[in-house]
Symmetry: C2
Subunit: 361 residues, 2 copies
């Protein structure tokens, strides 16, 4: 099949040019005579890749001077546990804003290692709403406030980082990092699995404020300690070389195209067009999320007659659209509009939504 | 530069045919219209890859009926901690045979989470010797006996799994798995970072006896629990998709060429030829390892006049040989002879060793 419209929720679309470069370099990496997949992580070829990736990420994110950038394996789900393990000492607690399934899992994993308090939860409202600052009060005694900036399953997103007073702010930014300005200065710690906007599955990015790093616990295994990972510039053990390389190529790709501002504008245009198509469908399609809480990355929706959803998936698949099925825990439909999903793909989706409605409305 | 002789200690050489297949499939994975790097881990394309990898590994390793096969991120170093965390309850201890730097690190990381006792250590002897069964007695109270089957830095290797009486045997097999028969039946748990014989950096393989799995602790975060990873067939979170794919291609590659028996024979021939070249050099080259403890995977050696070593590295590099520098912690020289290092490369190395000796002897 030719190149399809990839609306996967993650792992997700990567820029075509990045994949082409990876393919071209796969057998003989930049004249080294070997593949990067076979390169020692101590070799000069990889050292250059590691540095280039860090340089591109710092340039793209901006304002990272006070933060260390780390790479770890294990996915964002490991970070649910590691945040609590690294930050919480006996008697301390972290506060959590629970806006969906991944926030809930973050609380559950952290609770194995420390006290994770649910400060606010949207569960009773079906996770269709992102709290505003007047809906919660962070305990000044909290060691950190944790939130999930974008909720892939429920299709919600914080319009901006939550207020946390003086309490250090920790963010799982897995599904919207690099989709808009990151506000690094407002966060003590940001983590993100790579497989949405950063690159392929297999590496997790951590941005941690240097002053916080110095205050962390040092009684945990080195491989799980931000301090020891930082002390070795993410080379404490063999890093996921190829995934870091692709993160670097992807960051460079967007940097060469103007950085986060044009990306954010394009993402807003894609999401606006799609939400408009749903909202203006006379009830044929329905987005369950409150307008002010809607995600620009994951647009979740239903068809008024839910029995038509399998038909929609089948017909759209045949027309070259993949990844439109909702998460298995909630059902329905979902279109993920990550950075590498083109405006052309979003427009094409709006068109097939209209055509489907005409046929079945 | 043309294809070089890759003696990297890990990440290390991969079969050329595997890399060529990965390159050919990189942009459009088996007619899906997307790269596997962009594929959802819940998509049928990846489900097939996941199953194919497991099937190929089971066929290649053999005798795995009593074991679950798991994939995790984070590298073997994570397993140093996770073995103790999953297996040790309060008051219990694990016994460790310490044969090199990685065994020492395994003890250090495990000690953060439980009692890790050094049962035997070769440190005083410079780690040039692998203990025989009469040199240690496993405590019947030990929850497990841990050993490192091959020591990349010191160039030693167990000729066969150590005696452990009835105590469950745990092995870090990162650097020699698939190089010879695995003896799965003698191990309760085997783990291995992929980046030597299995595939690229970024995934860790775990073989765990099903009966052990049922006895493990269940009070740790799910992402670090063998039980919860096994319960979800290694899809508890997004796995490192591309690394698992390459592990599967590599396993299939060796399976198609006769499996572990011919691999073991080829590995023995490569190592025998190289050790002979060192031993028969009239003292020009020297291998510090006792003959009965020598590794077939990592041949460490010195030049009698150590000041010639930088010259050897320079000249061999210019002749297309890479990865021959010893680990930075011990210096000297090292040739790693993993599965994908051809007999031609080993022969070529023997030849340049002879030529260098002629010029400088």
């Amino acid at each position: 099949m030719g190149r399809v419209h990839n609306f996967n929720a993650g792992p997700a679309a990567l820029p075509r040019e990045v994949l082409e470069q990876a393919q071209a370099e796969l057998l003989d990496f930049r004249g080294s005579g070997i593949s990067l997949l076979e390169s020692s992580h101590r070799a000069p070829e990889y050292a250059a890749v590691h540095e280039e990736t860090l340089t591109a990420l710092r340039a793209l994110i901006g304002g990272t001077e006070e933060h260390e950038i780390l790479f770890m394996g294990g996915g964002a789900r490991s970070q649910f546990a590691l945040v609590a393990w690294n930050l919480l000492r006996a008697g301390e607690h972290g506060d959590y804003l629970v806006t969906g399934n991944w926030s809930q899992t973050a609380v559950a994993e952290a609770s194995k290692l420390g006290e994770a308090r649910v400060l606010w939860s949207g569960e009773a409202g079906g996770f269709t709403h992102i709290p505003t600052p007047d809906e919660y009060t962070v305990a000044p005694t909290a060691t950190y406030l944790h939130y999930t900036s974008n909720n892939t399953i429920r299709g919600t997103q914080y319009p901006e980082p939550p207020a946390s007073s003086a309490v250090p702010l920790v963010c799982d930014m897995s599904s919207d990092i690099l989709s808009r300005p990151v506000h690094c200065d407002r966060h003590a710690l940001i983590y993100a699995g790579a497989q949405k906007n950063l690159g392929p599955a297999g590496v997790t990015l951590i941005l941690i404020r240097k002053s916080l790093l110095e205050q962390l616990r040092d009684d945990l295994p080195g491989i799980f300690s931000y301090r020891s990972i930082a002390a070795k510039s993410s080379l404490l053990n063999t890093p996921p070389v190829f995934a870091i390389y692709l993160v670097g190529l992807t960051a460079r790709h967007w940097l060469d195209r103007g950085g986060l501002a044009p990306l954010a504008a394009a993402n807003a245009r894609k999401a606006t067009a799609l939400y408009a198509a749903l909202d203006e469908s006379d009830g044929f399609y329905r987005c369950p999320v409150e307008p002010s809480s809607r995600s620009s990355m994951n647009v979740v929706f239903r068809i008024h007659d839910e029995s038509l959803e399998p038909t929609f998936l089948e017909e759209s698949r045949a027309a070259g659209f993949i990844g439109l099925k909702g998460h298995r825990s909630v059902g329905g439909l979902r279109a993920s509009l990550y950075n590498a999903v083109s405006e052309e793909s979003a427009t094409a989706l709006v068109e097939i939504l209209a055509a489907f409605r005409q046929r079945h409305g």
